[in-house]
Symmetry: C2
Subunit: 473 residues, 2 copies
């Protein structure tokens, strides 16, 4: 039987998420990102199309590398203005019953004690449909406004991230035993205090002595999403991630990358099948290939070249305004540029890439490939990405929203359903159970969070703490 394709929609609480300029397209409703109606309709739409989840990106800062100014980003609305990604989730949860919600939180500026509570709360409110996209954050402008002199170094961010996740795992998995909440109205016991344990965490970055503030939620630990591309980021993903977001340029690159991620997961002691890998793609579709191509051109007409350089400035730290637009990128001495370039040249080894090429080539797909075609063409390509490229599914970005998602659901999903690739009925009620195709909403035993189950049961003398009441008769 063919492998099911997992579908994830990629959005952000801002106007222009991955593509600059298309906010001007008459069919784009991106500027309504600040209205509940936009999110409520999007959630209903995605659930009607069998999507597993909606993944909401975030940055707590602005793209101000290009020309050393936020001016270009503001003009194009390139991820600024940007609202908080948590706030609209419950309104979407209220109108759906299966769609999952991946929320981005940059842990460099959060306290694990408070963030653990946010996710437990969302997991309760959504009845087990929440994922946490773990981001270590990359913008200096964010660090400056959060009271740090400068960004913490890249590798140190991952050390901090490892400890941060450990603290949250302890809170989610180890603090409250199953059965701690008894709700015994006769005896007057809501929670059996002997089954709730302080985690007594003393670490390098955090001290968290206490108990988790929330009772156990359906999934306990939210599904862990991660998108790190660096070697350190890949090690982190291999250890923690249950959903990995990648952006290979070609199916061949995808095959190599997915094999590498799965073998790293295996080396970290995990079943690679417990890690779902999503390729970033933008799909422009319509009734026929020709109509799809016409639509693609109509989006390109609105794309902003300078906006894309502003995005690339934030992603790479390189101010492209300081270079000749036609200067070959390989002449720029910058690690990030080299890794972007490595992808670009792999896709097209005979071409020399310049800043102008980035604008031309990447205008409506962000850093991911763009697929253009009618239902058959797109479905054929997606099947190849899965069968040959080794991905479990796709992280679908938009050129216009919700139009790009609506088109995909109108044209491609029915074709993929005919091919038994996309679910018609959801098999599970929680996000994790749906992704893994199993009964339990909890992390599998091979996940690092699982080792804290029961870890604190004998660590305190709960039973000795039961004191006689001074108010006993």
């Amino acid at each position: 039987m063919s492998q099911r394709i997992i579908l994830n929609a990629f959005d952000m609480t801002c106007v222009s998420h991955q593509v600059a300029g298309t906010w001007r397209h008459p069919d784009n409703r991106a500027e309504t990102y600040k209205d509940l109606d936009y999110w409520i309709e999007l959630a209903r739409l995605l659930e009607s199309g069998g999507f597993d989840s909606l993944f909401i990106a975030d940055v707590v800062g602005v793209y101000d590398v290009y020309r050393d100014s936020v001016e270009t980003s503001l003009r194009d609305a390139d991820q600024v203005p940007v609202n908080d990604p948590f706030m609209q989730i419950s309104a979407m949860a209220a109108v759906t019953s299966h769609l999952g919600f991946g929320v981005t939180a940059a842990l460099t500026y959060e306290q694990p004690y408070a963030l653990a509570r946010k996710f437990s709360t969302l997991d309760h409110l959504t009845k087990g449909r929440v994922a946490w996209n773990v981001v270590t954050s990359y913008l200096d402008s964010a660090a400056a406004n959060m009271g740090l002199a400068r960004q913490i170094s890249h590798d140190e961010r991952y050390d901090l991230a490892d400890e941060f996740l450990d603290v949250t795992y302890k809170l989610w998995e180890g603090s409250w035993e199953d059965g701690a909440v008894v709700r015994d109205r006769e005896r007057g016991v809501f929670t059996d205090a002997e089954k709730v344990h302080p985690i007594s965490h003393r670490g390098h970055y955090f001290n968290v002595p206490g108990i988790h503030l929330c009772e156990p939620s359906p999934q306990r630990t939210p599904v862990i999403f991660q998108a790190g591309a660096s070697p350190r980021g890949q090690r982190f993903a291999a250890r923690h991630a249950e959903g990995v977001f990648v952006a290979p340029a070609t199916i061949a690159q995808s095959a190599e990358l997915t094999a590498s991620i799965r073998s790293q997961a295996e080396a970290a002691g995990r079943d690679p099948a417990h890690l779902k890998i999503f390729a970033l793609l933008t799909v422009i579709t319509a009734a026929s290939d020709a109509e799809a191509q016409a639509k693609y051109q109509s989006y390109r007409n609105y794309a902003s070249g300078e906006g894309m350089l502003s995005f690339y400035g934030g992603w790479t730290g390189v101010d492209f305004s300081r270079y000749d637009p036609d200067q070959p990128l390989e002449a720029i001495d910058n690690d990030a540029i080299r890794s972007v370039l490595a992808l670009l040249t792999k896709a097209d080894p005979d071409r020399q890439w310049t800043p102008r090429d980035i604008i031309e080539r990447r205008s409506i797909g962000g850093i991911g490939p763009v697929l253009v075609g009618g239902p058959q063409t797109v479905a054929d390509a997606l099947e190849r990405w899965v069968d040959e490229g080794g991905v479990d599914g796709f992280n679908l970005a938009y050129a216009i929203t919700p139009g790009t998602f609506a088109d995909f659901i109108s044209w491609v999903v029915p074709e993929l359903r005919r091919r038994r690739r996309v679910q018609t009925d959801y098999g599970a009620n929680t996000l994790r159970a749906g992704l893994l195709g199993r009964e339990s909403p909890r992390v599998p035993d091979d996940h690092p969070a699982a080792r804290y189950r029961g870890a604190f049961v004998n660590a305190d003398n709960a039973s000795d703490r039961t004191l006689a009441s001074p108010f006993a008769a």
Copy 2:
């Protein structure tokens, strides 16, 4: 014409908010605090009753002073487990169009740059119906888990709070000019960058150089709620608060307290009418006085005395288990106890108060008075609190939820509407405009946030920053 009474419901994302033990009452649905249905139904109910707002309390910690243990709080579910108070707001906003939402955030553990974004986001999603209940936080258990060795001292917390609010005011009021967001599709300008200004804040506690991340929301600054009772807390409220929550024991105390708050506001240069004062009350009502008394007794039967001492332990820092239950409170050498006692003895000057009396007297009203009676009795009393006690409205706590609110809306609201005291149609669409009875949703000119309007317009050379595009033809 009689003064309109402003109604606010007081709830918390936990099981037992102000009253310990009543979760066991068969009509209490408090334990469904973790389900969206509870909040959605509550919001609809309150809007049907003409309530101005729902105020959601919060603590980021546990009550563990009593017996030096969290055991009693866990057993009774006294504010633990406790979920994040922000997460369910958008689901409630989606099913209402006028009800306001006051959300508690303790600024001791937040960064102003990130918190300002949360409130701007909620103000967008609710279309101008959000308030921020500013709390400086009071539990040592919270501080310990947020990486602080101990709680910051009481008065220093208010110094930090003053600066924190200043930073958020600058972001909300001064960073984006009206008209900065132009959405000019022809010229390709979403935001006019010349109208967006960095706030360049360098202070004692915070450095925030950048621009606000969000475009202006309907209210810009959320309505500011505050509940500080100490002299320093009252000074803070006089300066910043637009809704002040007080808990006098009697109408006479209320008259004194409200006069004092209004004169402090006037001394701070504000129109005292721009400050709405809410008295904490629990109203137990039914068709008649006798039925209300019977209901009151049924709640008292479930109240937990030790739970109340656990609450008082957290509020005052005094471990009552270390004292004889019948020892007079005046013998306990503790400032917080003395101030609670001052209120108790004012209400009943001839009585000696003991720990046991707290349990007996306060069993279902938390630290606020309880009104028991049929519609006429309650409406008469509420009118006296307003006309003689000087309050603008009430912060209504529950004995059981949503039962206590539903009873109030079934029995008391119709009577108050007959007396033209409670609104039948909402006069405004935003929370601030409704509270102040004016057109504009923005802070009045005499509020400290208002001084940052336009404050940064000439602070940077925005017009000099417009550079020729390196990609111009």
